[in-house]
């Protein structure tokens, strides 16, 4: 290669190297500008995030892969009554209790949404709606939990449930009054008959006493008078009828007592804890006081199995049973071919659940609305006949309050049967944290 050629190639390399330098210089400038802008955006995002973290009306708790609390926001401190130093670096159990932890239950980027309890500094339980998800920054794994205090909502739900119960009791009052009125009528008739009979017997008794006190004077004549008064009073008839009349009055009083007891059972006050209850008895009470809702439309076919006492909120389940019986009656009333129907009510133990089935022989639930029937305020009934809360409340009571299942089987030929499945036992509430040791660490 001659010098000229070598020079040409070197010049070419040099030119390319210069061009590279220019390109790299331009890229460096561009990257610097981009870096500055990205840095500014990052700062702005960081400020926004910090502000959001501070202002969001939910408790945000960040848990590291080691299960220790990495960060909390002000709402968390307010909710739990803690100082930041109480929580940062401490085990997640301090907040979530010993029985459940986000680390054990969040294992993908899917958002876990669950109702749990968190614990205040004093160990008091606070119900929260917890949304938790895995956060992977590339260098660091952590779990971000957002907890929304449900105390007020729970209170409102309880109030709504109570209001619905009062509404039901009010609605049933007319039926109960009717049920009580029938026996009261014949109690009244029987008692009136007894009163009149005693009135009729009084002269007989008085004459009898006179004869007893002065037996010598005109005995035969007085006895004839006694016979006449006895005949007039129809004493034999009275003695024949009185036991029956009083028996009917007693039966009537028993019926009234039963209705009053059923009403009292139905209106069983809501309790925070589940208590063992007789589901069969509760169903019978509900059918008794709800009789007017179905008596003109359907017969009840009752098949109650042997059930153990079931830990439950029986007053709330009564409400569920009544809602389902009323729905069954309405379904029968609305069916195309009319006529008197049948509401089949049965109970049995299936596996670890008590299953209460309440079925009608109506036309079934149309496909188009099956997915909506549990939605609050969804109703196909005309105004005044249904508020659309019955099944929503039923599901809330069965699923949320009892950890049970409310499902149904329906078809145009077989009507609809709702199945209330209540667990025979229920998992223990998560226990308060056993250890409250802390390992303070400054929040970064």
């Amino acid at each position: 290669m001659n010098d000229h050629e070598e020079l040409r190639l070197l010049k070419r390399r040099l030119e390319r190297a210069e061009q590279r330098v220019k390109i790299l210089d331009s890229m460096l400038e561009e990257r610097t500008r981009e870096g500055y802008l990205a840095s500014a955006q990052l700062r702005a995002a960081s400020v926004s995030l910090a502000e959001l973290f501070r202002a969001v009306p939910g408790a945000i708790i960040v848990i590291g892969s080691d299960g220790l609390v990495e960060a909390v926001n002000g709402e968390t401190l307010r909710l739990l009554g803690c100082e930041e130093g109480d929580l940062i670096g401490s085990a997640q159990q301090k907040i979530f209790g010993d029985a459940w932890s986000p680390s054990q239950n969040v294992n993908s980027d899917r958002v876990l949404r669950v109702e749990r309890d968190v614990y205040t500094r004093g160990g008091q339980r606070v119900p929260v709606l917890l949304s938790a998800t895995m956060m992977d920054t590339g260098q660091h794994h952590s779990i971000v939990c957002v907890a929304v205090d449900l105390t007020e909502r729970k209170k409102l739900e309880a109030e709504l449930l109570h209001a619905h119960k009062l509404e039901s009791i009010g609605r049933l009052a007319a039926g109960v009054a009717h049920e009580i009125n029938t026996p009261i009528q014949f109690i009244s008739d029987s008692v009136r008959f007894a009163r009149d009979a005693i009135g009729d017997l009084a002269p007989v008794y008085l004459l009898y006493r006179e004869i007893r006190e002065s037996p010598a004077a005109d005995l035969m004549q007085r006895l004839a008078e006694l016979d006449a008064i006895e005949a007039k009073a129809d004493v034999a008839f009275l003695f024949e009828q009185l036991p029956g009349a009083l028996g009917r009055a007693m039966d009537g009083l028993q019926q009234v007592a039963n209705i009053v007891r059923a009403t009292k059972d139905f209106a069983y006050p809501t309790t925070r804890e589940r208590r063992p209850a007789n589901i069969n008895k509760a169903l019978q009470s509900t059918l008794t006081i709800g009789k007017r809702e179905y008596a003109d439309i359907a017969d009840i076919e009752l098949s109650l199995g042997d059930l153990p006492l079931v830990p439950c909120h029986i007053g709330e389940l009564n409400q569920v049973f009544l809602n389902l019986v009323i729905n069954a009656a309405h379904a029968i009333h609305d069916r195309r071919h009319g006529g008197r129907g049948c509401i089949a009510v049965s109970t049995q133990v299936v596996g670890s659940h008590v299953v209460i089935a309440i079925g009608d022989d109506g036309d079934g639930i149309p496909d188009s609305i099956r997915a909506s029937i549990f939605n609050p305020f969804f109703t196909t009934k005309e105004q005044g006949r249904g508020s659309g809360q019955g099944l929503a409340i039923a599901r809330s009571v069965v699923v949320e309050r009892h950890g049970g299942i409310l499902d149904f089987d329906t078809g145009p030929e077989r009507g609809t049967t709702f199945f209330v499945r209540i667990p025979l036992s229920y998992p223990r509430q998560s226990s308060a944290p056993a250890s409250r040791s802390t390992r303070p660490k400054a929040m970064s």
């Binding site: 290669m1 070598e6 190639l9 070419r12 390399r13 190297a17 390109i23 890229m27 590339g138």
Partner: protein
């Protein structure tokens, strides 16, 4: 293809055969491939193939041989530049098992539109490794060279055999690696 590969290719030729050979080879390339390549930029794959074709013609060696040699040359330099990926390994085998799951994952994070090849493996015995290479670029000689280069870097000889190739109609290129016990 990232510019760093073009720069390494130039280094490969210049260090092995001198700057003149590279310049002559570069002049043989189509005019659109005769651009100044800078490391962070991305260039068409066709440019690399055009330069390799020109180099192999200039040097009088086959393209596959040139590419494989280039891969072997490139690995130690890439390892030096991106030492974070290799420094915790003492042997090529555990390192090679991370190529797709760690290195290519990071490449995809940094260069969103990049298309690193799919590298899978089976580990049938302590002294063996079976690797599969799948890429629309069909640069399996480059992959083979990189594997050999990893042996050079870790100072562990690797007996590499290609058992099938997409260029011969297979679904993927497969390599059998044998390490000394």
């Amino acid at each position: 293809m990232k510019g760093i590969i073009f720069n390494l290719l130039e280094d490969f030729i210049v260090e092995g055969w001198g700057a003149e050979k590279f310049e002559r080879a570069f002049e043989r390339c189509p005019i659109q491939a005769q651009v100044p390549y800078v490391g962070p930029s991305t260039y068409p794959d066709a440019h690399l193939l055009a330069i390799i074709d020109a180099v192999s013609a200039e040097l009088g060696i086959g393209s596959a041989e040139a590419i494989r040699g280039f891969g072997r040359f490139a690995f130690p330099r890439l390892a030096e530049k991106f030492s974070v990926f290799v420094r915790e390994y003492q042997h090529p085998k555990p390192f090679l098992k991370t190529v797709h799951g760690i290195i290519h994952l990071e490449v995809r994070k940094v260069y969103v539109n990049s298309e690193p090849p799919l590298i899978t493996f089976q580990d049938p015995a302590p002294d063996r490794l079976l690797m599969q290479y799948t890429s629309r670029r069909n640069l399996c000689p480059f992959f083979a060279g990189l594997v050999e280069g990893s042996g050079d870097y870790f100072k562990v000889p690797i007996a590499l055999t290609q058992t099938q190739c997409t260029l011969a109609g297979a679904a993927s290129c497969e390599f059998s690696l044998q390490f000394p016990l």
